[in-house]
Symmetry: C2
Subunit: 444 residues, 2 copies
């Protein structure tokens, strides 16, 4: 048989009545009434083949799942097969034989999965061959590209800031330290200062930003290495910033709905409930949420400066029902608070409040938005008031750009893995990282 062009599993259905060559991994094999059914996996999905020929059946008998192979045969309609077609009586060719049984069953459907998270992650390099597990990362890639498309539509410039820093000017407790030719360097905990500097250059910047935090908690919400979608925008006001973030969420979800329908279905993701326009995403102050939550649950957080996780979940449920939105923008953050950094801007009319909003989606905060103080004198004052020393050389690059002219600006840090976790309805952020890292895990 002549060498044929490869057909992807997703293209087989369009070739009914013709001969095709499919290449991929043996995903599943079973004997049924004298026939051998095999399912082959490639990057596009699965395709089934039915083998009758004795010699071919014999050849297949000894193959383990994972075997890389090529099959050439006729495409026939079969409503019960994946994609509605199957390949009949293929000639098979082994590309890479597998001699031992695989340590995990990647052909198991999701509903039969019973591994605990550690087993899942220990087996990640092979486990990702499961159609469901890899679906998470198809969606992650789509989310990243959707963000980039949205930024491109709005005239942003992509930037890449350094992750090796001389010293941790901001924060400090949760910073990784490394030996840098006999000196100490730290790993960047955020691109904050760099993106602010770049407002003076490009006005609108974004970065797909690997972030490192020496987070000693081993929870479902924490990792030591994760990706934030970092944004900084000049010539913008707080209202525009909130709408821009809401627009990003709507744009990302629209892209996922359009291009990842199969992946969403695999994970039984409930339909997304979001308004048509970003300014329809409900905005509530922390105070309002505390009050509503108290009334509904008798649980009192009214004295607190932050939302409790239970409140975040509850308000998203409330907004879903009452406002047809699984997203909520939380405003009314106090400016006298540990979370108010020296570069944040207090509200002009209500200086006790920060120009800050948290974007909640499906029960968790996925992004924190804030306006920055762009006036040099006020910035210096805020830095001093909070105990910082403007003469600390770590601040020099940042302060120099404010001294030399900065427009009003704001931005956000947006957690990629957390967003994918919520989109895919997962239980743990680590399921949304290809090879997650936490206090206990540095491998594989």
């Amino acid at each position: 048989m002549a060498v044929m062009q490869r057909t992807l599993s997703s293209e087989v259905a369009g070739q009914t009545g013709k001969a095709v060559t499919v290449q991929g991994w043996l995903h599943k094999k079973r004997l049924l009434g004298g026939l051998t059914f095999i399912v082959v996996r490639d990057r596009a999905g699965l395709v089934q083949a039915v083998v009758k020929d004795d010699k071919e059946v014999e050849k297949l008998r000894g193959l383990q799942n994972g075997t890389v192979m090529s099959l050439t045969g006729m495409v026939v309609k079969e409503p019960r097969a994946p994609g509605g077609v199957e390949i009949h009586d293929p000639k098979t060719e082994i590309i890479s034989a597998v001699s031992e049984e695989p340590p995990i069953e990647v052909d198991k459907p999701l509903s039969h999965r019973s591994e605990n998270l550690d087993t899942l992650l220990d087996n990640r390099p092979l486990g990702l061959r499961s159609i469901a597990e890899r679906a998470i990362f198809k969606v992650q890639a789509r989310v990243l590209q959707a963000f980039r498309d949205y930024f491109a539509q709005h005239d942003f410039t992509e930037m890449n800031s350094p992750k090796l820093l001389a010293e941790a000017t901001e924060g400090g407790a949760e910073v990784f330290k490394l030996d840098y030719f006999g000196k100490t360097a730290t790993l960047a905990q955020s691109a904050q200062f760099y993106k602010q500097m770049m407002v003076g250059v490009f006005e609108r910047v974004f970065e797909t930003n690997p972030t490192y935090r020496a987070e000693p908690s081993a929870t479902t919400r924490h990792m030591t290495e994760y990706i934030t979608i970092d944004v900084e925008i000049g010539f913008i006001n707080f209202e525009e910033l909130m709408n821009f973030a809401g627009g990003a969420l709507l744009s990302v979800i629209a892209a996922v709905k359009k291009d990842c329908a199969a992946e969403l279905k695999m994970w039984n993701v409930p339909a997304f409930v979001l308004p048509k326009k970003p300014d329809l995403i409900p905005r509530l102050t922390i105070h309002e949420i505390h009050e509503k939550f108290l009334k509904a649950t008798k649980e009192d957080h009214t004295g607190e400066d932050d939302l409790a996780p239970a409140e975040e979940r509850w308000i998203c449920e409330w907004a879903k029902k009452d406002k047809a939105s699984e997203a909520v923008l939380v405003t009314g953050w106090p400016s006298k608070s540990k979370t108010f950094k020296f570069y944040h801007r207090a509200n002009e009319l209500h200086p006790e409040l920060a120009d800050r909003a948290d974007l909640l989606f499906r029960g968790v905060e996925i992004a924190t938005l804030s306006m920055r103080e762009h006036r040099y004198d006020r910035l210096i004052k805020q830095l001093k008031d909070m105990g910082g020393d403007p003469k600390n050389p770590g601040y020099a690059p940042l302060l120099s750009v404010y001294k030399n002219g900065m427009p009003p600006h704001g931005g956000w840090g947006w957690g990629l893995e957390r967003t994918v976790e919520k989109i895919m309805n997962l239980d743990n952020i680590k399921e949304a990282a290809l090879f997650p890292r936490d206090i206990n895990r540095l491998a594989p």
Copy 2:
């Protein structure tokens, strides 16, 4: 005056005869025969305004470059102004005043730049406000997106591998070590093993990959932190891999030519000389290049396993003249050599050679391509032959995917900054990194 919609500098030319509001930074100011000319910079470029009104002139007198301002005035044709138009008699509004003279003159044209590299990099946060300096990073962003578009056209999945690793399995001398909750972790020197693992999942993957190397040299070619465009492709042969890389280069250069004409002009970049199709990029063996170079220069490298930098420059010049290509694919690399890693594949017909090619462009290697050994038994043998221990737990994840079925595959590591350096005709790779890092530099 009513608040008007902001017009970008690049849009002003389309508004001749109308009033516009421009916002940006005061880039340059000069008095000329009773008139005050000012140039304002925004994210799109520069626009000139002419001020006659005494009160406005008085207001401008005290302003330093960098002042953030808004101007509203009539657009008038003026062939000598940037963009062929200028704004007449604007009403100005100061958004952020600047009280001190800026430490560097960002309005200087490139031909007047005289800073040495250290001064340039020390002043990076402000220096990037120069139209020429920021142009480099507009091009970098375009290059990144061009790569991604090319990968999307070819059905790739984007991946993000961890940079925090338990131990350095590959290499070791040039690895950064960090304190990881009392244990030692290392920073990833490459995404090599991870992208190989992902071939078993997605077949075709790419990563925009931050790379860390404790490189003790302070040269024009070395940094400790840089970005590689990493690719790994399953079901491909060596010939296809070379064409795919050539296609990527042609695609990236086409995008830059199309969208970055102004940026290229600013740096006097000579016209790109490249063939129309990737299979027309000249391919020469190291041996052939040694011989040609010896004949042309009397300098003898014929006994060496690698190309000398002078040879890389010379062969690209030769190919430009003789083959109308500034790119060259160098083949014929020996398999008995330090650069041949255990996961590389030797050529089937000529096992003394590796299935490897280096892509040279404008005199330097920008990418290294190679096929990987996909057959488990041979991979284990190569690992052992090179003194590696297959039982080393650092190899376990990688080896598990080969044991469980991998197709023939290959990929590349491609230096982003080096590519931008060559595209923009720069002298030093550090000019092509926003905030470069080397043995002596961890700031700004």
